[in-house]
Assembly symmetry: C2
Homo-oligomer: 118 residues x 2
Amino acid sequence: MSDSSERLEVWCAGEEWCPITTTATLVGKKWHPVIVHRLLDGGPSGFNELKDDVDGISSKVLSDSLEDLQEKGLVAREVISEQPFRVHYSLTDRGASLEPVIAAMAEWGAEHLRAPEQ
Amino acid sequence: MSDSSERLEVWCAGEEWCPITTTATLVGKKWHPVIVHRLLDGGPSGFNELKDDVDGISSKVLSDSLEDLQEKGLVAREVISEQPFRVHYSLTDRGASLEPVIAAMAEWGAEHLRAPEQ
DNA sequence: CGGCATCCACATGGATACTG
DNA sequence: CAGTATCCATGTGGATGCCG
């Protein structure tokens, strides 16, 4: 498939320096890709707006997921001091750069959704 | 982002009919994308050959992963009756169709691996 | 060679209720 | 509005050892 000069002997490792595993730790969580997709297509959002759009998620899990996405530098959180106050969730540049990955996932899923078995 | 006629109100649901979640259940497991990548680039393989290439995986986890991939129709398993017998793992057409998804994950990971923080 | 059996640890996700 | 606090069920991965 590849000639000897550029061949990788190890496809991926258990450690973090594997590109695929790196991406999988972001996109492999149950709700993460859905949330990123929502922020990509729907733009910035408040907490409950997000919760309403992402069908089936609970407050706690959305909160946990957003916290994880912030720690990983994919999502930015901004508190707007008003009454009542608002919170603004948006993608960072890094988060937005996941678009090709999310798009590929969405496309594959859409094509194979009609034939889940066989 | 989209006009009113083609807008999706719900980005994804907790149920199985969501395209992204569908893909995430395949590609979101820790070792699945790595195994598929190995089979895409390295061609069909025996069990231990696969285990050697996928650095860090245990027999049990590789076995579990391959079983799951078979159930989902992504991987084919063929037993070759020789002495000693061999087993042949390869991608099905459906498994091979994941190539764009895996490629997108690999590319994103490679680009962002050098800057894991910030 | 190509696994399976066991047992275990930890992470993820979910239900429910409550708060500033 | 935007979460937090508990508590709990399950899943996923890992270590070790044995088997046909």
